[in-house]
C-alpha cells in the first residue's frame, strides 16, 4: 500500500492525536501544569469511551450493512434499568441479571430488525419510533426514578480503582471478535455485500432479510452490554441516562471511516472515533468551558472531521 493509502487508513488516529495534543497544550497553558494527560484523567476518558465504544461495535456492524439504529441510547438506558430492577426487586445475583439485561437489549435489536424487514420501512423511521418506545418502557419499568440495588459485582465493570477495569478488557476482546467476524466469516462478508450493493447481494443468493435481522439483533446485544457499563458507572439504573448517546455512537463510527451509505466501516476506526468524541468532551470540561460551548465545539469538530476524511478519501482513491 502506498503512503496515501496509509494516510487514509490512519486518518482517524491522526485526528485523535491532534485533538489530544490540542487539549494537552490548551489545558496546560490555562492551568500552568499538565492536568490533562494525567493517569487519572486518561482513565476517565477511557471509561467514558467504553460505553460509546461498546455500543459502537454494534453500530459498526449495522452501518456496515447499510443500516442505522437510532434507538441505541434508549436501549442502553432500558437495559441499565432492567439490570437494576432484576437485582433489586427480584433479588437476582449480578451475573444472571447481567445476562437478562443483555438479552433484553438483543430483543430490542431483534424487534428493530424484524420491523424493518417485514414492514419495509426505512431503518431511520423504525428505530426512531423504537427510540421513543424504549425510553418510555425504561421510565415505566423504573417508575420514573432511578433504581438503586445493593452493591454487587456488576459495579466493578467500570471500576475506577483498577487501572484497566474488566469492562475495558471485555471491550477489547469483543472488538477483536467483531473484527474477526467481519473479516473472516461468511456472515461478515455478507454484511459488506448487503451494505455495498443490496441488489448484487440478492443476485448472489445472500439471505438479505435474515442478515439484516441478525445484524440489528447483534447491535441490540452490544447495546445491552453498554447498558451494563452505564449501570456500573453510577451503580444504579437510570431511565433518563444516555440521552443522545446514539448520536455520539454514530459520530464515532463515521469519524472512524464508516460510510452511512453502507459497505464501509472499521472496528478499530470506530473505537478511535469513540475516544475522539470523549477526548473532546473531556477536554472541553477540563478547559472549564460551559456546557453549551462544549456542544457547539463537538458539533463543529464532527462536521470538520468527517468532511476532511471524505476529502482525503476522494483524493486518496
Amino acid at each position: 500500500m502506498n503512503v496515501r493509502g496509509w494516510l487514509v487508513r490512519l486518518g482517524p488516529l491522526l485526528g485523535l492525536i491532534l485533538v489530544f495534543l490540542f487539549f494537552l497544550i490548551a489545558v496546560w497553558m490555562k492551568t500552568g501544569r499538565n492536568s490533562f494527560a494525567t493517569p487519572g484523567n486518561l482513565q476517565t476518558i477511557a471509561l467514558q469511551s467504553a460505553i460509546v465504544g461498546m455500543a459502537a461495535l454494534g453500530m459498526t456492524l449495522i452501518i456496515l450493512a447499510g443500516g442505522i439504529d437510532l434507538s441505541m441510547g434508549s436501549a442502553v438506558a432500558l437495559t441499565s434499568v432492567v439490570a437494576a430492577v432484576l437485582m433489586k426487586s427480584r433479588g437476582w445475583p449480578a451475573f444472571p441479571a447481567a445476562c437478562g439485561a443483555i438479552l433484553v437489549g438483543g430483543l430490542c435489536g431483534l424487534t428493530n430488525g424484524v420491523l424493518i424487514t417485514r414492514l419495509q420501512v426505512v431503518p431511520f423511521i423504525i428505530t426512531l419510533g423504537i427510540l421513543l418506545i424504549l425510553r418510555g418502557a425504561a421510565k415505566g419499568l423504573a417508575e420514573e426514578q432511578t433504581v438503586i440495588p445493593p452493591p454487587s459485582a456488576m459495579d466493578s465493570l467500570l471500576d475506577m480503582s483498577s487501572v484497566l477495569p474488566s469492562g475495558v478488557w471485555l471491550l477489547a476482546v469483543l472488538a477483536a471478535g467483531v473484527s474477526i467476524v467481519m473479516r473472516y466469516t461468511r456472515f461478515g462478508r455478507h454484511l459488506y455485500a448487503v451494505g455495498s450493493n443490496e441488489a448484487a447481494a440478492r443476485l448472489c443468493g445472500v439471505p438479505i432479510t435474515r442478515t439484516k435481522i441478525q445484524v440489528y439483533a447483534l447491535g441490540g446485544l452490544f447495546a445491552g452490554i453498554a447498558g451494563l457499563f452505564q449501570y456500573s458507572r453510577l451503580a444504579m439504573g437510570d431511565p433518563t441516562a444516555a440521552p443522545g448517546l446514539e448520536l455520539d455512537v454514530i459520530a464515532a463510527v463515521v469519524i472512524g471511516g464508516g460510510s452511512l451509505a453502507g459497505g464501509e466501516a472499521s472496528v478499530l476506526g470506530s473505537l478511535v472515533g469513540a475516544l475522539f468524541m470523549m477526548t473532546i468532551r473531556n477536554g472541553c470540561s477540563q478547559m472549564d468551558w460551559r456546557n453549551w460551548v462544549t456542544e457547539i465545539v463537538a458539533g463543529a469538530i464532527i462536521i470538520g472531521a468527517v468532511a476532511l476524511d471524505r476529502l482525503r478519501h476522494r483524493r486518496g482513491l
Partner: protein, 471 residues
C-alpha cells in the same frame, strides 16, 4: 436540404472515449412533417436525441432550426428554442397535479406567488388544443394511465411553445387504444405545423404515422426517403446492412438432456439458446423470473443451489458490488462459513488467470477494473460456483471488442467442452447468430418458437421482432 426545413442536422458526429456513437448523421424535417427515425438497438438513436435536446454537445457537424444555427449547451436551452422530448420513461412528477406538471419550470407567478388562475387557463388551453378535455387539470399526475400521462407530457411541450416534438418509442408502454388516440393526436399537431421526430422499432407503425424516414446504422445515416416508396422489408435491409463478422467461435457441440424447462422454453446441455427481441419486449423479465429475481417459484439462493447462475445486464447496479474487492465479488454466491483470505485469494487467482483478467491482485477493488474485466469477473462467479445453466443478460454490453471475443470464446468452451447450458439475451443480432445454436424471438411479452440458427438470419429475426405493430 431546402431552406424551408424546420430542423436540419448535417454530418453530426459524437464520440465517447474510444467509442464512436455518431459517425455522420444527416436528418432534415420540414414543418408539419412526421419523420420516422429507425435503426437497431445501439444504432445511435438515443445519442442523436441527446445531441438534439442539448444533453450532449456534438463533436462535429451542424444543426439548424428554421434556418438559424442551433447548438444548445444544455437541455433547458433546447427547450427554450422549441425542441421538446418525450422519452420512453415518462418524466412527470407523479405527486404534482396535471396543471402543475404542464407549467413545471415556467410557472406564471406574481411576486413569487403562483398565479393559480393563469396556470389553470394555460393547462386547460393546452389540453383542449390536444382535444383531450377529459383529462382534468387538478388531478394528481400519478393517478393517470400511462397513455394519459403521455398526453400531459405533450401538453407540457405545447405549453412551452415547441416547434419540434421528439417521441422515443411512444407506443412501447401504452395500450392499443391509447396508441390510436396518440396517432390521431400527432396528426392534429402536424396540421398545426409542428414537426415530429418519431423514433420506433415498429416499422408498420412508422409507416402509418410518418411521411418520411431516416435509417441509422452504426451511428451513420444509411438511407431515407418518402415512406410511401418503401416497403418494410427494404427498411429492415437498411437497418441490418451487409456486415459479416467471423469473430464467433463455434466448436462441435452435442446437445444432451434437458436441464431447464420452464416458461415455454427448453434448454439442453451443450447448447446456447438465444433470446432476441426489442428492448422492453420482456426478455430480461423472463430471465429474472427463471432465476427468481422477479416474483416466481424460486429465490436466487435456491437457483444457485439448483445449479443456475445469472449475469445481470446492469453490471454497475446489480451485477457487481463495485465497492468490494474482486475476490468478494467472485466468491459471494459461494462463501464458506469461515472465509480464509488465502483460499479466497487462490480461488480468485485461478479464474483471473484463466480468463486473462487484467488486475493487480484478488483484493483490488473491482471498481478500478475496466468494463470488460469487470464483466469477466461477473461471469467467473458462475464458473466458480460451477453452475450447469448460465443465464446471461446482455453479457457483452458496454465492453470492448477484445473482451467481447474472449467472452464468446468462453461461452463456446463452456458448452462444447464442459457440457454446460447457456441461455442468453442479446440485443445485438450478429452476436446471437454467431454463437447460438437456437434462437427464439420475444415480442411484447410473448415468446416465439426457438428455431435452429441455420434457419434464421438478421432479417427474419428483426421482422419477427418488429413486424407486429401497435396499429
Amino acid at each position: 436540404m431546402t431552406a424551408a426545413a424546420r430542423l436540419e442536422m448535417t454530418g453530426v458526429r459524437k464520440r465517447f472515449g474510444a467509442t464512436v456513437a455518431l459517425d455522420g448523421v444527416d436528418l432534415a424535417v420540414s414543418p408539419g412533417e412526421c419523420h420516422a427515425l429507425v435503426g437497431q438497438n445501439g444504432a445511435g438513436k438515443s445519442t442523436l436525441m441527446k445531441v438534439l435536446s442539448g444533453a450532449h454537445a456534438a463533436d462535429e457537424g451542424s444543426m439548424r432550426l428554421d434556418g438559424v444555427p442551433y447548438a444548445p449547451r444544455h437541455p433547458l436551452e433546447g427547450r427554450r428554442r422549441g425542441i421538446a422530448m418525450i422519452y420512453q420513461e415518462l418524466s412527470l412528477a407523479p405527486h404534482l397535479t396535471v396543471e402543475e406538471n404542464i407549467v413545471l419550470g415556467v410557472e406564471p407567478s406574481r411576486f413569487g406567488w403562483l398565479d393559480r388562475g393563469e396556470i389553470r387557463r394555460r393547462a386547460t388551453d393546452a389540453l383542449a388544443q390536444l382535444q383531450h378535455p377529459e383529462i382534468r387539470p387538478d388531478v394528481v399526475a400519478g393517478r393517470l394511465t400511462v397513455g394519459q400521462q403521455q398526453i400531459v407530457e405533450i401538453a407540457r411541450a405545447l405549453a412551452s411553445g415547441c416547434r419540434v416534438l421528439v417521441l422515443d418509442e411512444p407506443t412501447s408502454s401504452i395500450t392499443q387504444r391509447d396508441a390510436e388516440q396518440l396517432f390521431a393526436l400527432l396528426e392534429r399537431l402536424r396540421g398545426q405545423g409542428i414537426s415530429i421526430v418519431y423514433i420506433s422499432h415498429f416499422i408498420e407503425e412508422c409507416k402509418r404515422v410518418a411521411q418520411r424516414y431516416t435509417v441509422l446504422r452504426d451511428g451513420r445515416t444509411v438511407g431515407g426517403g418518402a415512406m410511401a416508396d418503401a416497403t418494410p422489408a427494404q427498411i429492415v435491409d437498411l437497418m441490418v446492412g451487409q456486415k459479416m463478422e467471423r469473430l464467433y467461435p463455434r466448436s462441435k457441440r452435442t446437445p444432451g438432456d434437458v436441464l431447464l424447462a420452464a416458461e415455454g422454453l427448453e434448454l439442453r446441455r451443450g447448447e446456447v439458446l438465444g433470446l432476441a427481441g426489442l428492448i422492453g419486449a420482456g426478455r430480461t423479465e423472463l430471465l429474472r423470473r427463471l432465476f427468481g429475481l422477479a416474483p416466481g417459484p424460486a429465490t436466487p439462493a435456491e437457483s444457485w443451489r439448483r445449479g443456475l447462475g445469472f449475469v445481470s445486464e446492469d453490471r454497475k447496479n446489480e451485477g457487481l458490488a463495485l465497492g468490494l474487492t474482486i475476490a468478494d465479488n467472485l466468491t459471494l454466491s459461494k462463501l464458506e462459513a469461515l472465509v480464509l483470505p488465502s483460499r479466497q485469494s487462490s480461488a480468485t487467482r485461478r479464474w483471473t488467470d484463466a480468463l486473462a483478467v487484467k488486475c493487480l491482485g484478488p483484493f483490488q477493488r473491482i471498481a478500478d477494473l475496466s468494463g470488460g474485466n469487470q464483466q469477466k469477473i461477473a461471469l467467473a462467479r458462475l464458473l466458480h460456483h460451477d453452475v450447469d445453466v448460465l443465464l446471461l443478460d446482455e453479457p457483452t454490453r458496454g465492453i470492448d471488442v477484445g473482451s467481447k471475443a474472449q467472452v464468446y470464446q468462453l461461452i463456446d468452451d463452456l458448452v462444447s467442452k464442459e457440457n454446460k447450458a447457456v441461455l442468453m439475451v442479446s440485443s445485438y443480432l450478429p452476436e446471437l447468430l454467431g454463437i447460438c445454436d437456437r434462437v427464439a424471438v420475444m415480442r411484447r411479452g410473448k415468446l416465439g418458437p426457438a428455431r435452429p440458427v441455420e434457419e434464421v438470419d438478421e432479417h427474419s429475426l428483426l421482422l419477427e421482432a418488429t413486424g407486429d405493430s401497435a396499429a
